[in-house]
């Protein structure tokens, strides 16, 4: 019996040394430890031994069983460790399963950013139609018929009286006709100009318009609001200047310039070597415009401003050909 016990020990050591995987180990378990395994058979055989020998052999067998169990457990743990180590060796540099990446168009991003700056100052967002009448686009905005001011905006006509809006300013009229002051609105949208298409000029582009009408609104408020905007959008250290200009629907009117953010005012290609960039047109709403919407011009004053989104975006991102914005090359879109 003792001999057989030793035999089992040797066999176990040999089998375990050959084990390299879970199924191998399972074979070992079945051979030695299962209900009909070698050890169970030894216990069975022990029953036929004389009673005097039984206690000693029983002790030996119990020791063997514990040993086998321990060896098995150790081997099992070793295998698990190996397996875990193996898991750690998976090539983590393999590419992840890619997801499509969405992008917001750079012009929309620019509009959104401007919109939110003004929203934070209490401006609401309104929009209006792109097909407009002569009245809303020109007449109500104090562009008299047969006035050269109309040449400032080459117009696409749909019929004698209907046109594609040349600016977002008709939304000012629609907004004021709809409500009484205070009016504090920002109006983004598409506009149209009948000009030859080039890297610097498009027939369709976007503007964002702003309007603030209330009691006691002054030119000084206009400057303050637009400077606050410019600092937020272009950075706190931006220098600015306002220059008189002419728009039929504002008086006094002002073009706003900021110091070129590329060369910091030293002069470069972007600012055409003058150090300044024109970023928007603005002015105090002309009393004729307020009269046209039935506002009391003695009680209310206001200011309006407008800027071209393509220009602002092209300066900001360094896009030197405006047509790129409308080609929608995905390689272009994914840069923003």
């Amino acid at each position: 019996m003792t001999e057989r016990i030793d035999q089992v020990r040797r066999e176990l050591a040999e089998d375990l040394s050959r084990v390299s995987s879970g199924p191998d180990l399972e074979q070992v378990r079945i051979k030695f430890l299962a209900r009909s395994g070698l050890i169970a058979r030894l216990f069975d055989d022990m029953r036929s031994l004389p009673a005097s020998e039984k206690p000693a052999v029983g002790k030996l067998l119990n020791t063997l069983k514990a040993e086998v169990q321990q060896s098995y457990d150790e081997k099992r743990k070793t295998l698990e460790r190996l397996k875990q180590q193996e898991a750690r060796w998976i090539d983590l540099t393999l590419p992840g399963r890619p997801k499509p990446r969405g992008t917001k168009h750079p012009l929309t991003q620019t509009i959104d950013e401007i919109k939110w700056i003004f929203a934070s100052m209490g401006f609401s967002v309104v929009t209006g139609p792109e097909i407009e009448t002569d009245y809303y686009n020109f007449e109500a905005l104090n562009f008299p018929k047969d006035h050269p001011a109309r040449d400032m905006q080459d117009t696409f006509f749909i019929s004698k009286n209907v046109l594609l809006r040349t600016h977002t300013s008709p939304v000012q009229i629609r907004t004021m006709l709809r409500q009484k002051p205070p009016v504090r609105e920002i109006m983004p949208g598409r506009v149209y100009r009948n000009e030859a298409v080039s890297a610097r000029s498009l027939v369709t582009f976007h503007q964002i318009e702003g309007l603030y009408v209330d009691e006691g609104v002054t030119f000084s408020d206009l400057k303050g609001t637009l400077v606050a905007f410019a600092r937020q959008f272009y950075g706190g250290d931006v220098k600015y200047k306002f220059r008189p200009t002419f728009f039929p629907f504002t008086e006094p009117s002002a073009d706003m310039y900021i110091s070129c953010f590329l060369c910091k005012g030293k002069g470069c290609r972007m600012c055409k070597f003058v150090g300044w960039l024109e970023i928007l047109g603005s002015g105090m709403v002309h009393p004729h415009v307020l009269q046209n919407v039935g506002y009391d011009t003695e009680q209310y004053t206001g200011f309006a401003f407008g800027m071209g989104i393509e220009r602002i975006a092209s300066l900001r991102y360094g896009v030197d050909d405006l047509r790129l914005f409308y080609e929608n090359d995905v390689r272009f879109l994914q840069q923003f």
């Binding site: 992008t103 967002v125 209907v162 000084s220 200047k241």
Partner: protein, 807 residues
């Protein structure tokens, strides 16, 4: 507009450097876009003489000229047809910057280098007017005065060293379109008053009145007509100083009479016209409108058709000029002219503008009349021109200005309140400050009563009529920079702010879902504009046929984008655009907005691989179920369960295998596959799937106020079912049959398998579903569940001619 520094100095003194003057003027609203120092501009240009003209050995149209430029004689290859030996010419030496490149569409400048032209070395260039930046003539070289000295720097030939400013004249300031006008404005910068020279004429005993008659038949359109008549005029070239002045501001010299009228125009802003007196029938001028359809040949030799709104200058028999626009060929000054009738008139701005637009003819005269010309300038200008002609040609000036001025304009006044000025500007200016600002613009106070100041407005200031106009002038002179930049403001909360829009939300959702946002042109060509059917809105004055129709759908623009991207190798695309589309609704209402439809839409597009490529994933093309899934996800986010897909059939050639979307019972758009033929029209040989939705309808179904529903507290029961049905039975029908019986208890139906093949037999398919039964108020017993599922099975079997398949 070009303004000469030397010329300005005739009327005022400018103690400023050009750069400073430019900056200061810009800051009061007279924008100086740039200025040119002629001496610098023509640094490497000299007067040369063509000594010899030889044939170019290798080119028929070129010549090889030997040109004496003083220090040396250069060999220069020239292509101009008019070059000839003995001519004095402007020569650009190697290293010169040629102001305009004749061969460049933008006419950009270029640096002249030594070059081999058809194998022959050229050591310079003989320049045309266009290349020199002195005019539009690019046909031949500019031939200089024969008395010019060889070797003289070209800038000196042109006159004294001068600075030429390029000024941007705003549409409201017609008075700036002259040197005196600019000189007056400069007073704001220098404080120095500007003045026109006094006119001194030796008048003859003959009276103008007896030699000419002027009749204004339309006093609305012609407000004033002043005239001078001269005898014994010798027509010939102008002296160099006059030619130089005109050339420096971009006017081409013609002859002394025409040059003098142009000189006075540039000096005073008053357009003048000179008639050959002897060609005027009965020496009479009649100002009246043309008859509809009349024809008239203008000075430029063009035959023009008139309308009855166009004001004409006529003699006793026929029209001789289009008033305020251009003179006629029939009464033009010629070498034989000896008597001249000068016209110095004032016309209604609107009428001149309409005529100019109708004729497509914009001239120095019409541009000024459109903006308004000083009505008190006519007589002065006529006399000033007469004086110059007398000085230049010794002509006899007849006595007196024949001046027809039917309704003398009243002296203009305007009022301003000091308080209002400060209220608009946000300033605290005193009455004295305001008075001193406006005085610099020649606005004279004529009355003061408390807060109110009344000013006499100069007759040339057409733009000043109301208080706000004066307030603007105060602001300009005070300086915009001096107005406080207010950093505090009040925000009004009396109205709710509307900040979020459906567009923003849709955009953010789609970007998160991996789509690239597009913005495409809304003006398209005819084919694209009409692709989706329906009546398109057309532009009556398109800039090109490529942009003549407003889009009726976002699809054609997006297909163009797909094409562009595919041509760059980008074939797997997930795109969306939000934008307006347009339609012609009612031809009879085309003069109002009622005739047109305009609505915002959302387009979602998929093409190419359904997912980005990965080694561990099977590459699969996007298909209908992908676009349906994307649409489903989007709509369920915004409209919860208020939408459904229904069959779509509008007979459109654009789309095939399509579904329509209904939101709250309204048609909201469609989704489907772009027809093969349409895709091929865009060179796309792949499947493209789109969904186009009407945002207004999505907006109506947009659930913005959400209510919490308590989560179920009892366990749900899952049962799987599979049916075998005919392949033609739509899945939707099977699902509906299940839901009909399941009701609220059947909380979810998920299809998890679809099979057609040997195991189910020909013409059949197997549909497998996981059903979730979710009671809200109790636990469902097995028995209850079995009973319900049994009824569901029976209903599907009878409604869909299907059989339960054992799983």
């Amino acid at each position: 507009m070009k303004i000469s520094h030397n010329w300005l100095n005739d009327y005022t003194r400018i103690p400023l450097k050009p750069a400073d003057l430019a900056e200061r003027l810009s800051m009061i609203g007279l924008e100086v876009e740039g200025f040119e120092d002629l001496a610098k501009k023509y640094e490497k240009f000299v007067v040369g003489e063509v000594v010899e003209k030889l044939k170019h050995p290798n080119a028929d149209k070129l010549t090889l000229c030997k040109v004496n430029v003083g220090k040396e004689t250069l060999e220069i290859v020239c292509g101009a047809p008019n070059v000839a030996a003995g001519q004095k010419v402007a020569v650009a030496l190697v290293g010169a910057t040629i102001p305009h490149n004749q061969h460049d569409p933008d006419g950009s400048p270029f640096l002249l280098e030594r070059a081999y032209i058809r194998g022959v070395e050229s050591h310079g260039m003989i320049c045309s007017e266009f290349e020199l930046g002195l005019g539009d003539d690019a046909e031949g070289i500019m031939v200089l005065d024969s008395t010019a000295r060889v070797g003289t720097p070209f800038a000196r030939y042109l006159g004294d060293s001068d600075i030429i400013y390029d000024m941007e004249i705003t549409a409201n300031r017609g008075d700036w379109m002259s040197h005196i006008g600019i000189a007056r404005e400069i007073r704001v910068v220098t404080g120095k008053q500007a003045a026109l020279p006094n006119v001194k004429i030796r008048e003859s005993k003959l009276s103008t009145r007896k030699h000419a008659t002027i009749k204004i038949l339309d006093a609305q359109k012609c407000r004033r007509y002043s005239s001078r008549v001269l005898r014994n005029v010798k027509v010939g070239p102008s002296p160099k100083w006059l030619q130089d002045r005109l050339t420096s501001v971009g006017v081409r010299p013609i002859n002394n009479v025409v040059d003098v009228t142009n000189y006075v125009l540039m000096e005073t802003g008053q357009p003048l016209h000179a008639f050959d007196y002897d060609t005027l029938a009965q020496h009479t001028i009649i100002v009246k409108c043309a008859s509809e359809g009349d024809r008239f040949t203008t000075l430029d030799g063009k035959d023009r058709v008139l309308n009855s709104d166009i004001l004409m200058i006529c003699d006793a028999e026929r029209p001789v000029a289009i008033a305020g626009v251009m003179g006629g060929a029939n009464t033009e000054i010629s070498e034989r002219t000896t008597m001249v009738l000068l016209e110095s008139a004032n016309f209604d701005p609107g009428s001149i503008r309409r005529a100019s637009k109708f004729l497509g003819l914009s001239t120095d005269a019409s541009q000024r009349f459109e903006r308004g010309v000083d009505i008190e300038m006519t007589a002065y200008a006529a006399s000033r021109a007469a004086q110059l002609l007398q000085e230049l040609t010794g002509a006899e000036v007849l006595k007196g200005v024949l001046d027809v001025y039917p309704r003398k304009a009243k002296a203009k006044t305007a009022k301003l309140r000091v308080s209002r000025t400060n209220a608009v500007l946000g300033t605290s200016l005193s009455k004295q400050q305001i008075l001193s600002f406006l005085k610099q613009l020649n606005l004279t106070p004529i009355a003061q009563s408390g807060d109110v100041l009344t000013f006499a407005v100069p007759s040339y200031r057409y733009d000043l009529a109301e208080e706000i106009d004066l307030i603007e002038e105060v602001a300009r002179v005070y300086g915009y920079d001096n107005v406080e930049t207010k950093t505090r403001t009040t925000v009004d909360f009396s109205k709710p702010l509307s900040l979020t829009s459906l567009e923003d939300e849709l955009r953010n959702y789609l970007i998160g879902a991996g789509f690239n946002e597009l913005l495409t042109y809304s003006l398209q060509d005819q084919t694209s504009g009409h692709l989706s059917g329906g009546k398109a809105v057309e532009v009556i004055n398109p800039v090109s046929s490529e942009a003549s129709v407003l889009r009726t759908s976002l699809i054609p623009g997006a297909l163009q984008v797909v094409q562009n991207n595919r041509s760059h190798g980008q074939k797997d695309l997930r795109l969306f655009e939000i934008g307006n589309v347009f339609s012609l609704m009612d031809e009879r209402a085309k003069e109002s907005l009622d005739g047109y439809g305009e609505e915002e839409r959302l387009l979602v597009l998929l093409t190419g691989s359904a997912q980005p490529q990965h080694y561990d994933r099977i590459d699969r093309k996007a298909d209908f179920l992908d676009i349906k899934g994307e649409t489903d996800a989007l709509l369920s986010k915004f409209c919860l369960d208020k939408y459904r897909f229904i069959s779509y059939d509008n007979g459109s050639a654009l789309i095939e295998s399509a579904l329509a979307v209904e939101i709250n019972g309204s048609y909201a758009g469609f989704l489907g596959k772009i027809s093969r033929s349409i895709a091929q029209g865009f060179d796309i040989d792949d499947e493209v799937y789109v969904c186009e939705l009407r945002n207004a309808v999505v907006h109506q179904g947009w659930v913005t106020e959400k209510k919490f529903v308590a989560l179920p507290r009892f366990p749900s029961v899952r049962r799987d079912l599979a049916f075998i049905a005919d392949v033609e039975i739509p899945q939707e029908k099977v699902e509906a049959a299940m839901r009909e019986i399941g009701g609220a208890l059947l909380s979810r139906v998920t299809m998890f398998d679809l099979y057609a093949g040997d195991q189910v037999g020909a013409g059949k398919k197997s549909l497998a579903y996981a059903l979730e039964l979710q009671p809200l108020d109790r636990t469902l017993t097995d028995k209850e569940a079995d009973e319900l599922v049994g009824r569901i099975v029976r209903n599907v079997e009878s409604k869909c001619s299907a059989k339960l398949r054992s799983l």
